[in-house]
Amino acid sequence: MSQAAAIDTHAHGEGFHDELEPSLTPGNSGKLGMWVFLAGDAMTFGAGIAAYGALRWYNVNWPNPADWLGITLTAIMTFILICSSLTMVEALSGVEHGNMGKMRGFLALTVLGGIVFLGCQAFEWHHLIMGEGLSIKTSLFSATFFILTGFHGMHVSGGVIYLSSVLLGSLGKEASHHQVKVVEVAGLYWHFVDLVWILIFTFVYLI
């Protein structure tokens, strides 16, 4: 790993120092970019959840979610995403310590967790759409449900593709500072997806 510092400082502006305004994320400007993106994404999700909450507050006729939605499966999905966050952070730990095998293994497990989550979501949607006849235009309840969970599912799908790209891109490469930065930024996105699901699970399913 000793040549990693040499490889990286030569062109990518990692060595650029602004005496007046040090970076919020020294050494990894991609991290700041990802944080800003996630802040915007959080506003989108937050607006969705806030609107859902405000609409629901003013509708006495809102169906009881427990009558329509399966809590057991969703609890398992929540646990799967939490596990995948753990494997993601272990993958980052692996690459930080120069262990590419550990990184790839845990990254693969993270991708697998995401795929299993999507499978469970698809199963749930199938039941609601085909079995119960709900659709996005059936009612306010179903509309908010499908929009919130669907938007989140889109993020998980994108994350699965993103992490798979990182994984494939790391094949044959040695650990380097660049690899650390790439995995760290990808990890931020994945943890965000998990965090949003924690909130959706609570507000849409449990409350």
Partner: protein, 176 residues
Amino acid sequence: MAETAAAHAPGAVEHEGPNYIAVFIYLTLLTGAELGVYGLGLPKPVMVGALVALALAKATLVAMYFMHLAIERKGLWVVAATPLVIIAFCYFMLRPDLSRRSWASHPEDMVIGHHEAPETGGMPQVPQGNALSNSDQPAGSQVGQPNPAPAGGESPSGTAASPAPEGGAAQPPANP
């Protein structure tokens, strides 16, 4: 709480990692607690408050330790906290607006679920009067309770978009 020696290896990130397994266990326990609270059948306001607190605790754990916010520069916390402020604004700005919608005054006109689910989940009896107009109700209060206050201040659907000052004069201020 260190993964020690490698933290100083060349090319390694300079921070020490927290104990990720411990955070994972806390997250699992908090999820179990949420399910426990859910299954206990507590009064709604208590249940909602407990679930929201648990969810925020989990979110904080993920943000602080998995996303490493705890060891980042504090300026990054401003980036991370901004959406929370915006979301709070969004919710509290929506409520007075939505409370003046026609279907908030006449919920019996509004079909939410297309199914009449069995008795437990079907349309609850809408009490006389408008239960929804007064947003001074404390959070989590039973929305179905009739409100003796100025539900009468709600105009019929044609003027659902009554401007705020007019509404404010006729009834208690919309914002608690």
